[in-house]
């Protein structure tokens, strides 16, 4: 499994361990000092790529570094360690050209122009979430806002009933914060199975009812002859839900926590909203919600001066490469107007996060509503809880805060969802896309 050249590069590294969570992002300095690629003996042995430029080179060679999960060909997918028994994770666990069959269908829903139409929904739902707590002066940014808004938005994109966000919310988050193969994973796995069942049911119903959205687009594409299969479609929906729910939640929570401790920076953002664009990229860089992704080497090769052997496992450490001191000056500081910013926070190469434009829009909108409606919020350290395992998603389970109470601004949450449900089923709404 290991290679002959790995001996002198071996480090005691495990992105799922509590030590990694405690040391991130500072751990990047120690690892980078050993070179841009190190070897870990954990999880059956794998390369950890921490150098920003080496990461970019590897990302240009999907034919050598496979995302696919196919035990018969020794391909182990994007999770390190690979979970046993689970199906492929949609197009993220496919290689070209197969992965493009799916991305081609999803891309038009996720271009900068296409996501802009959802901004009013995100704003309304965020306001409704805030309305629910605004009189109390207390909020849990995760439970009361950042878990809900991206989930409702994802339902809308998929063409599922908006109120179904609650069906997927807990499993989608538990799926990424539970340490693989830990005792708690048994419970989480049951939740995931239930979620998969719900998705299968929804696909069947969507086929009959044809509500506009990604599910209908996938089924229509298959009908029109695109080589999409049931597992690929369901895996893709699971991927969109996992990616759509949890990453934006993580970015929002980390950013709000940091801005609570840096009031001068928060005031800067309030005074100068044009800073929000570069600030968003910088917060994605610094916290890197999706910390990395696995690859399997398809044949012996030398890339970026490094020898790989067929079957080697590789972890693309986006969260560490984003703290590569050779690529980012003052990498250990959040510089809200940092630019240029060649961060790898949405991944690199052909598997670039397909929802990156959506994530930016919903993050900026949520943050904007918070800064306007509870500008003096203060995060309470008591009750704040990060994910026990940040090796998949660098997120929070709870982030409570207090603020000066204010007035409600809109209708109740359920009414907002009903109103937007009608909107999302109207031809006018989707026609604005083109």
């Amino acid at each position: 499994m290991s290679t002959d050249t790995s001996g002198d590069l071996t480090v005691d590294f495990d992105q799922h361990a509590p030590a990694y969570r405690a040391a991130y992002p500072g751990v990047a300095d120690d690892l980078r000092a050993r070179g841009p690629i190190v070897w870990s003996d954990h999880h059956g042995g794998y390369w950890v790529v921490t150098g920003r430029d080496v990461l970019g080179e590897i990302a240009k060679h999907p034919e050598l570094f496979s995302n696919d999960r196919d035990p018969e060909r020794g391909l182990k997918g994007v999770a390190v360690p690979a979970p046993e028994g689970a199906g492929r994770g949609g197009f993220l666990e496919m290689d070209p050209p197969e992965h493009m069959d799916y991305r081609r269908v999803l891309n038009p829903f996720l271009s900068p122009g296409a996501v802009a139409r959802w901004e009013p929904l995100v704003r309304s739902v965020a306001d409704a979430c805030i309305d629910g707590v605004i009189a109390s002066g207390r909020i849990d940014f995760v439970d009361d806002l950042a878990n809900i808004v991206p989930a409702v938005l994802t339902m809308g994109l998929l063409g599922l009933p908006l109120r179904d966000w609650v069906v997927y919310c807990e499993p989608a988050h538990a799926m990424v914060y539970t340490r693989p193969n830990s005792p708690e994973f048994v419970h989480t796995f049951r939740l995931i199975l239930r979620m998969v069942e719900a998705i299968s049911t929804s696909v069947a119903e969507a086929g009959a009812r044809a509500r506009p959205g990604i599910i209908k687009a996938l089924l229509d594409a298959r009908e029109a002859g695109a080589p999409l299969d049931q597992d690929g479609i369901e895996g893709t929906l699971l991927l969109v839900i996992g990616g759509g729910f949890d990453t934006t939640t993580a970015l929002t929570a980390h950013s709000l926590e940091w801005l609570s401790r840096h009031r001068d920076e928060r005031d800067r953002l309030v005074r100068d909203p044009t800073l929000l664009d570069t600030a968003t990229e910088e917060l994605v860089r610094y916290f890197t919600p999706a910390q990395g992704g696995g690859r399997t080497v398809t044949r012996d090769c030398v890339v970026a001066g490094h020898s790989f052997r067929a079957g080697d496992r590789v972890w693309m450490a986006y969260g560490l490469a984003n703290h590569d001191p050779e690529a980012f000056e003052r990498h250990d500081q959040i510089v809200l107007d940092r630019f240029p910013n060649r961060h790898a926070g949405f991944g690199l190469g052909i598997h670039r996060c397909i929802g990156s434009n959506l994530a930016r829009m919903s993050f900026k909108t949520m943050l904007g509503r918070i800064l306007e409606r509870m500008p003096d919020y203060r995060v309470e350290t008591d009750g704040t809880e990060r994910y026990a395992d940040i090796g998949t998603i660098n997120g929070y389970r709870h982030l409570p805060a207090t603020f000066t109470p204010g007035p409600r601004v809109g209708p109740p949450f359920d009414e907002v969802l009903e109103q937007w449900q009608r909107e999302a089923e109207s031809e006018r709404f989707w026609a604005a896309e083109a």
Binding site: G56, P112, F339, R342, A434
Partner: protein, 63 residues
Amino acid sequence: MHVRVDPDLCQGHTLCALAAPDVFMFDDEDGHAYVASESVPEGREDAVTRAAATCPEGAIVIG
């Protein structure tokens, strides 16, 4: 100054438009970037240079 986007390298990160939204446009279908014109407008050379420097894929070619 001339600029183009290498379509084999661009992955649609959209960071170029933060530097020069008047120069870099995005395809409605795949969200990948293209230039409105290969001739960089006068006074926009710095913005285009910054766009090239921030592209995570190194897809912006200046010539």
